[in-house]
Symmetry: D2
Subunit: 144 residues, 4 copies
Amino acid sequence: MSDHAGRIRKSFARQAFMALLGARLARVETGEVDVELPFRSDLVQQHGFLHAGVTAAIADSACGYAALSVMPEDAAVLSVEFKVNLLAPAAGRRFVAQGRVVRSGRTITVVRGEVLAFDENDDARPVLAMQGTMMAIRGRGIAD
Amino acid sequence: MSDHAGRIRKSFARQAFMALLGARLARVETGEVDVELPFRSDLVQQHGFLHAGVTAAIADSACGYAALSVMPEDAAVLSVEFKVNLLAPAAGRRFVAQGRVVRSGRTITVVRGEVLAFDENDDARPVLAMQGTMMAIRGRGIAD
Amino acid sequence: MSDHAGRIRKSFARQAFMALLGARLARVETGEVDVELPFRSDLVQQHGFLHAGVTAAIADSACGYAALSVMPEDAAVLSVEFKVNLLAPAAGRRFVAQGRVVRSGRTITVVRGEVLAFDENDDARPVLAMQGTMMAIRGRGIAD
Amino acid sequence: MSDHAGRIRKSFARQAFMALLGARLARVETGEVDVELPFRSDLVQQHGFLHAGVTAAIADSACGYAALSVMPEDAAVLSVEFKVNLLAPAAGRRFVAQGRVVRSGRTITVVRGEVLAFDENDDARPVLAMQGTMMAIRGRGIAD
């Protein structure tokens, strides 16, 4: 896993969009990756809650890297599709997207994710549930 | 529709996250809203393509406002859920998310969206397909 | 809950399609409903595995009744949407769809489901993961 | 296409579940397959409408064969995932599921489908929208 963790941290560092959001890799284990994001007022939709695109983005990154953590060393990962249910308005001081591998195959890895919102007392509640498909890409010249 | 278009433009202007991305409302018609986004190098994932969270975000906004355009004047719109299929790497100079109403009900509006990527010759190809559910919220004090 | 269980059993008994499949309600708790289905050779797709429409159908019923179990007594339940990932070929002697409530709101209830396939040794493996949205319908003359 | 059409018709004939439902292949073109189903009272859910599992099943078959029609001759097709939005109660005398290829790749084919309900005057209205992913399987001994 140490090699995987190193690869995942390097790859995440190349996701310029995560840097723009202010998101960071909080946890990298085999099949489990967490991405953390502090609230920022330029990430909101029209009602002042975090935009669904933001919560979906950190969930997609967490799920993609969870999938990469169980793929062969020479593979890169691409999102095939994902679906999100928005469980509650994304209000909070910080957010943690938890990506988890449900089933891992040769080409296709199925993932589930949650985004938790933490309030000023650091109490958490779920605001997004994701279910998606990641694909291993090999030998096509796409760096991971 | 003129009233709807005005409300939608005001609401979009309050989506700070769209401003952060550099996205703008390109077209507002009844049941049809387009959001345009120029490429920017801080919006990418690890392979240099637009992050799936970015394309999903502009598709969600386009679909949400397409839904709002067919809702009663006093309603606000919330995303219940959406699903995206990523059709091709999101490479291009600019991107247009097209949100369309498939069916509109009293509470629930079903939407479909596409994101088109335009290359340096302004040739387009689809990079994302969305299918989702929007909900009308009324009388609960959420500004639209 | 006893009242809910009774209503759910009556409603399930009216689902003629569940009878056609040979499915039965195996468990009814608050927020948790299981539907069981023995394998039958007329339920298969072209490769001899259970058709995805069959596994999706029992998962939808399990999830729908899990949602109904947390709704007000006078509500009926409708499926708004669901998404399934097919995790493995649906081979087995019997199948159990487990519907679980993730979040329950006034109008919308978010659910997740799994279908487990049991082999001749009664060892289980997951073959389908569902994530969906159920809606409470009240006072519109639809019996539950 | 004639070869593809022949293979698709043979494969559909092996889907015992389609026979149980009373569904038939109505149209087979490159990238477009329609499946037709007459209403039958043993296919319903608790309110007397066609069960969502039934409409999803015919949409999945239509979409899967639409995908197979654009795959290499030696490939078989598997459903990876699909998502359905239920647009209206599935009331009608007959139903037509229209499967369409959105984008076809080497491994993954993205599809969209609709189910139309026809009433006693043969007027149609959409009752289901599907968006899903099909995968080409080659050389693993699964007959198509």
